[in-house]
Amino acid sequence: MNSFSLDNLQSLTWFFPEIAITVGVIAVIIWDLISAGLNRIRGIVVITLASLLTSGFLSLAYLMRQLAGLTPSMSLFGGLLAFDPFSHLFRMLFAFVAAIVIVFASPSSETGAGTRKRRGAGEFFTLLLIITLGLNLMVMSRNLLMIYLSLEVVSVISFVMAGFKIDNRKSAEGALKYVIFGGMASGIMLYGMSWLFGISQSLDIGEIGNQIAMATAQNGRVPLVILLGVVCMLGGLGYKISAAPFHMWTPDVYEGAPTSITAFLSVGPKAAGFAVLIRFFEEGVKATTHYDGRLTPWAMIAGLIAMATMTVGNFTALHQSNIKRMLAFSSIAHAGYMLLGFCVFDQQGKQAIMFYLLTYALMNLGAFLVVAAVAERNGGNEDIATYNGLGSRSPVLAIMMAIFLFSLTGLPPFAGFIGKFYIFASLLHVGGRWNWILATVGVLNSVVSLFYYARVVRAMYLTKPDDKRALTVRVSWGTTIVALAVPTLALGIYWAPIYDFMTASLLIGR
């Protein structure tokens, strides 16, 4: 696919977004040691935001260079990492998500940043930056070893972050489940990798793809051992995106972790997991929906996982009383919708997922921010009952929450509707009985999801408040919430420029 790869020294020129984050990590550690008091936390926030923005804008600059045809797509570090528009788009998304989460976390007492002693604030921001670095490497990986290492960077640090509220039992329990399931999932994934290595004698996913294509052509179908290896890999990646058989950790971790981390985990690692999944199936498996006129096992497996993920997520979300837990199940359901776009293994599905991830990042971050704002004024209580009468207690906040929830449901005229529309369109574009079944299940699931999202909206507007006092929100959080709600609405009405930009970017990587 890519004609040439650069050696280590040459690659550094095209590695600046990651270098910016690395410098940020070191700077935060040093600043944390030499400063004290309020200056400390302010300095840390400024450094982290600066390094993230630098990283995001450098990725944008690379993307623009590639769009202008100045730089071809290539492999960095002797074929370990990819340099292509696909990874630039994701790196911009991660910089954006991490920056929002930092604004979100800086005054919060859960992260240690908002308390008097500011215990652990330095660690929190350092770890957040390192996760972002890991996410960047994940979307660029083009080698099994690199996929494993970047995935583990993200996983191990996510474990620490999930248990960040050190004297909270829920947080420790969530983190324990995360570690144990994470270890299991990476063990299964590695077993799959070891077999793929055994068959193809290479860790490079392009080379593996050639071997798989050759073996498939020889046998007329996918050999069993390759099927086993790829399914094992799906296990590890499915864990990251919280797909159906590997979703058990999600609600516990999301409920136990500090809300800012929950917001981050529900967007960042999920997006990176999808990026690895798409790259691996495109370059490493060279998957198609049909082979010799028959449905391939890949389309079948991905479709089954997608259906199971959506259904489990939506139906379990129906009877949750804790809002964070409900949003956790809703995020599982959203992973299912995105997997629908993955099932078709083509350019249109890839664009649909990319666009969906952007809208999902906006609305999900927004919803979790509102949760954090409401929980803070209710003594950390996250029950849906605390939303009773929010429409009169804090009208603006309630409107914002309603926008996010309706967008998550996929109602027009919000961004979530357009995202879902493109996902279903990509399925029907390929057509065939299987894809029609998948699309139908997806639409029915969207209808089910309306029930639990509407429950919160009903609580906000139709139930009388237990506590009639007005609910105030921090200025920084209020601004961020509005800043996320505006594009959620705007992208639902006028999305064409963003969608066309993504399409153009993804096409030139070919």
């Binding site: 070893l145 494993y148 829920k170 329990e173 077993y191």
Partner: protein, 103 residues
């Protein structure tokens, strides 16, 4: 020199992997779960090294195994720290007593 064929290594690795998986599913002690994961990872190492020995033109597989060992150590360190944090709050390392979070 009598050399052991590749299949033997692969079977041993598969058996170790299965033991690890069964231990993970059957036991309710967080420490045993972490040990089972370690078994599974070592099964992967055996498979990688065996395949590499069989192909033999480079050391990619061995190198991968070293990375796995290093990362597994990091993961175990974090895992044990979390088990310790939970033990301080609950005085137990059994996963079935960690039941505060439920559907």
């Amino acid at each position: 020199m009598i050399s052991i064929p590749l299949e033997h290594y692969l079977v041993v690795a598969a058996v170790i992997f299965a033991i690890g998986a069964c231990g993970f599913l059957a036991r309710r002690n967080a420490l045993v779960a972490l040990m089972s994961i370690e078994l599974m990872l070592n099964a992967v190492n055996v498979t990688l090294v065996a395949f590499n020995r069989w192909h033999g033109d480079n050391h990619t597989g061995q190198m991968f195994a070293f990375f796995i060992i290093a990362v597994a150590a990091a993961e175990a360190a974090v895992g044990l720290a979390i088990v310790l944090a939970l033990f301080r709050l609950k005085k137990s390392v059994r996963t079935d007593t960690a039941d505060l979070l439920k559907n």
